[in-house]
Symmetry: C2
Subunit: 358 residues, 2 copies
Amino acid sequence: MTDPLPSGSTIGILGGGQLGRMLSVAAARLGYRTHIYEPGANPPAGHVAAAVTTAPYEDEAALTRFAGAVDVITYEFENVPTSALDLLEAHRPIRPGREALRISQDRLTEKQFLRDLGLATAPFAPVGTAAELDSAIAATGTPAILKTRRFGYDGKGQVRIDAPAVAGAALDDMAGAPAILEGFVDFSHEISVIAARGLSGDVACFDPGENVHEGGILRTTTVPARLGPAQRTDAVLLAASVLNRLDYVGVMGVELFVTPQGLVVNEIAPRVHNSGHWTQNGCAVDQFEQHIRAIAGLPLGDGKRHCDVVMENLIGDDINRLPALLQEPQCALHLYGKAEVKPGRKMGHVNRVQPAQK
Amino acid sequence: MTDPLPSGSTIGILGGGQLGRMLSVAAARLGYRTHIYEPGANPPAGHVAAAVTTAPYEDEAALTRFAGAVDVITYEFENVPTSALDLLEAHRPIRPGREALRISQDRLTEKQFLRDLGLATAPFAPVGTAAELDSAIAATGTPAILKTRRFGYDGKGQVRIDAPAVAGAALDDMAGAPAILEGFVDFSHEISVIAARGLSGDVACFDPGENVHEGGILRTTTVPARLGPAQRTDAVLLAASVLNRLDYVGVMGVELFVTPQGLVVNEIAPRVHNSGHWTQNGCAVDQFEQHIRAIAGLPLGDGKRHCDVVMENLIGDDINRLPALLQEPQCALHLYGKAEVKPGRKMGHVNRVQPAQK
């Protein structure tokens, strides 16, 4: 399919969390229906979708029915099992494509891909054994961070190594999972570029946002980011090169460290990204609609920002600040409809909006 | 209930068209679920709602089940049958309340209510018989418009009378329905105020928008409207007086003619209003969320505008302009997911956004 997806078509979304929820609303604005596939009961995306399938990713019959009910398939997270993707792909196009998933599912593969593209990354080395960890630490120095190669998010599956003496304990924490040691980058701040590439190969980027993390979880994104014009151009060109190399279709989040020596890629995410939530109130076409436009073969929005925005995540007990947030002028609320509050769980976010200053 | 509606509660919405659809999305942003009640199959609001009941307004069992499944009830249009409202209200609060519905369901009652409030309206007179029509025309002059008192919208149920000689034919068009004759107002332009009143009696208004109609259907709304500071204040105070008099809870659309002698009220609508769609891209809290906040007992947004917006309705074949609209910069699309295109049918709207000029 290279023609635009006809109005009224159904977009299948793997994963029913907040990203699927906001993708579903964006799809509706473009006249599409959505069908959510999610193993967990009562997914947030199900409250704003035309259909929901509740089934595990191992349920071949459910996957087959789902594929038959939708016209194109996308996903809200990168850890969908390969076997499920194989089955689905035999029936319907999956966008973004498998190559982006393959690369981003494994931190080591991702780092090597970025390096092969000529991009700067933190120093890294694969770690499977104690001996490999020792030589990795010798190469990167300490402090360093030992991470599982797969299935990590929001700071999970990571251990900081402050000195070689504690390396053994850190390796035990990996519980035998293949790991990667990453050295520290001396950066002034982190930014991300939310980039999109359409079916026809056109690329559009939103203004870079500046991220602040706490405890491994994104706390705020501020747009515009502190960047000179040349850095801004570098960031956007760098992101575009990643998407082009992957023949990517959809939105990708590209996290970058700003250093005196230039931009260093932290990680890429083959999906809409928490650091792009500001676009909901800052742009005529937000990242969610941009993603839907891309996978539906529609023209991309230009990414232009009409407002300055500070996005703040509402994590765990932050949701208790809701009464005050509801009274705050120019504060746009986006709650996820999650029933249970847990520490570290993203319950919603707010976008604080003001007229663009530059 | 005067406490805020708890997060995760379900809001019942009578009517599954585009207004219900956009209300549903706004409710989700605040962490609520929605349940749509709609006689027609496959309603647009159903694509973004947690639950849908498809049943006529005469189905008492379905209405009772619906009431039992929701925590508060609102509506997207004012012509819900009284018998259905009576049944529902015995189970759950209906907001906005019955008085606003009673008044706005009948053009004559509405005009009398406005006049009793001391507000200017077009000259009007009730018409049931040919003799009444003759004396009404003698009072208002021609041209004038004969309208059914009930169930009119988007120019339907209206006949223009350019000369007394054609009055008989106009009356025949009413097919025996009680009617009202309205004289013409010599106005320079039409504006509307989207006003909201909360459960605690607080009132907030969005900036007045300037409306252009074609063939009885809203074509565009431009914000800011052409108004002097005193006119702007008059418009907002006038709208607030209507809401206060009705002890209203929710969003109301108040259409006003701007004349050299001051503002003349055209009509009021006890619901979110087409001329308020610009708020989706111009305000941190749009009219749909404002309505949900009001009926849920939450604080209202302040209505401040951070962008200038021109809203254009996509009516009937306008939807064929979609490819061009998708390529237009700073053009936010809002399609309604309606399967069939018909002349005069509202298929969607666009908000053209630019940074606020004043």
